[in-house]
């Protein structure tokens, strides 16, 4: 998730920036990633990336052996995929910050970096939290896919348990309840975060 947020922030800035090539780069990234299923990307990174690197190395006359650990492959792929989704959330959030705020900051003599750090970043969270919450929920459920590349997370362990006990329904049902519990906790956390982020906003009576 941390990777996803960083990537999302970076790509959102690229999309909003005036430099065309950066915008196109970010656009391609989000279009491609959002059009391909997570499972295909996970398998591509886990199985495909090592051979791709080896083949390229062999092309330059190097003989190396590369292996990606399931943990690393999983974290990076998930981060990479949800970075694309977070990009859209952040883009909307940055656009939602009032233009007058930025103009006022510039009038006070702040440079672009200072404006971003002091004005844009603190204010855009308020708009980004609901969207990020959604991304987080989808992400939690996507982690179940990593079990396909044998990482011993919740789903993979359930698999093993189901095979040993010959009670697949009981095991998978328990796993699903655990996921539900995580979801409920995330919902509560999201509500708290939203309240906190909105504490400076005047309510209309």
């Amino acid at each position: 998730m941390a990777i996803a947020i960083l990537l999302g922030l970076g790509a959102a800035l690229c999309k909003l920036s005036k430099i065309k090539s950066l915008g196109i780069l970010a656009e391609t990234y989000t279009t491609v990633i959002r059009g391909i299923p997570e499972l295909v990307l996970i398998l591509l990174v886990y199985y495909g990336a090592p051979t791709l690197i080896q083949d390229t190395a062999a092309f330059f006359g190097l003989d190396i052996y590369v292996e990606i650990k399931p943990m690393i492959a999983g974290i990076f792929t998930i981060g990479f995929i949800y970075g694309a989704f977070a990009t859209e959330v952040f883009r909307g959030a940055f656009l939602a910050v009032g233009k007058g705020q930025i103009e006022a900051a510039q009038a006070c003599g702040m440079g672009p970096i200072l404006v971003f750090r002091r004005i844009l970043l603190p204010q855009m969270w308020r708009f980004a939290i609901p969207g990020l919450g959604n991304v987080w929920m989808v992400l939690i459920k996507a982690t179940a896919l990593i079990s396909v590349i044998q990482l011993p997370e919740l789903m993979r362990n359930t698999d093993i348990a189901a095979r040993n006990t010959h009670k697949p329904f009981t095991c998978y049902f328990t796993a699903s309840l655990l996921y539900l519990a995580i979801t409920i906790f995330s919902l509560l956390f999201q509500q708290w975060a939203e309240k906190r982020a909105n504490r400076g906003v005047r309510r209309e009576a």
Partner: protein, 233 residues
């Protein structure tokens, strides 16, 4: 990069693409039929009607699709004797049936929430006008609420269908040979991992953007009476 293997497996990829489309469209249609009554249940004021639908949606939206798929495909084995007694075992034995069932239930939960938003978004004045004309119950739903709600919900529903198309790649885990399934089996034999998975990715990209194109066309058609600046995307 080994191009020959891509060309060689292309026919298999195409039949995989057909299976992907078949599973997706079947689940979309069945899920749609299930989502409409669920959405109507969700807007009901009576807790006895509302709460069961809420629980169904909460469960299917709160757990990963992979767990649901395994629960139905592998989990049904625990009730083998019971299921064969009532004559359903032959369905649950088939990976194809289990894939359709879990995708249908999953998309029904997500799209019923989308339709619920659509139903709540129908302007109250339209309801009042219809009531004043003497419409009630089913007629009101069929003639006034559903068409308007569908129009409001369409953009979000497009997203859901795209997600379902991508989610259908999971059925490769329970041995079905869709696009992902073909890529996995052939690459495990030939070690041409990235070539095949990139081909699979490109195929999905084509399907997804083709689907979005079709849905946008439908959207234009059903909202043709609204001027473009009214439409919120």
């Amino acid at each position: 990069m080994d191009n020959n293997i891509i060309i060689e497996t292309l026919p298999r990829f195409l039949s995989g693409a057909l299976l992907t489309l078949e599973i997706t469209s079947l689940s979309v249609i069945l899920g749609f039929l299930l989502a409409i009554p669920l959405a109507i249940m969700r807007v009901s004021k009576s807790p006895f009607i509302n709460i069961p639908a809420y629980c169904f949606n909460f469960y299917f939206r709160g757990t990963p699709l992979l767990v649901q798929l395994f629960l139905i495909y592998y989990g049904s084995g625990q009730f083998q004797s019971f299921l064969s007694d009532i004559g359903l075992w032959q369905f649950f034995r088939e990976a194809y049936f289990c894939a359709i069932l879990s995708l249908t239930l999953n998309t029904a939960a997500y799209s019923s929430e989308i339709f619920r938003g659509g139903i709540l978004g129908v302007p109250f004045g339209e309801l009042e006008a219809a009531r004043a004309c003497g419409m009630s119950g089913p007629l009101l739903y069929r003639r006034i609420i559903m068409p308007a709600a569908l129009r409001i919900a369409w953009p979000a529903y497009t997203n859901e269908v795209v997600f379902l198309l991508q989610a259908s790649s999971l059925v490769s885990i329970i041995t079905l040979m869709d696009i992902t399934g073909v890529a996995r089996v052939v690459s495990a034999r030939s070690f041409a991992f990235y070539e095949l998975f990139i081909t699979a990715g490109v195929l999905y990209l084509i399907l997804v953007y083709g689907l979005i194109f079709v849905f946008k066309r439908i959207e234009k058609r059903i909202t043709a009476h609204l001027s473009p600046d009214v439409m919120i995307r």
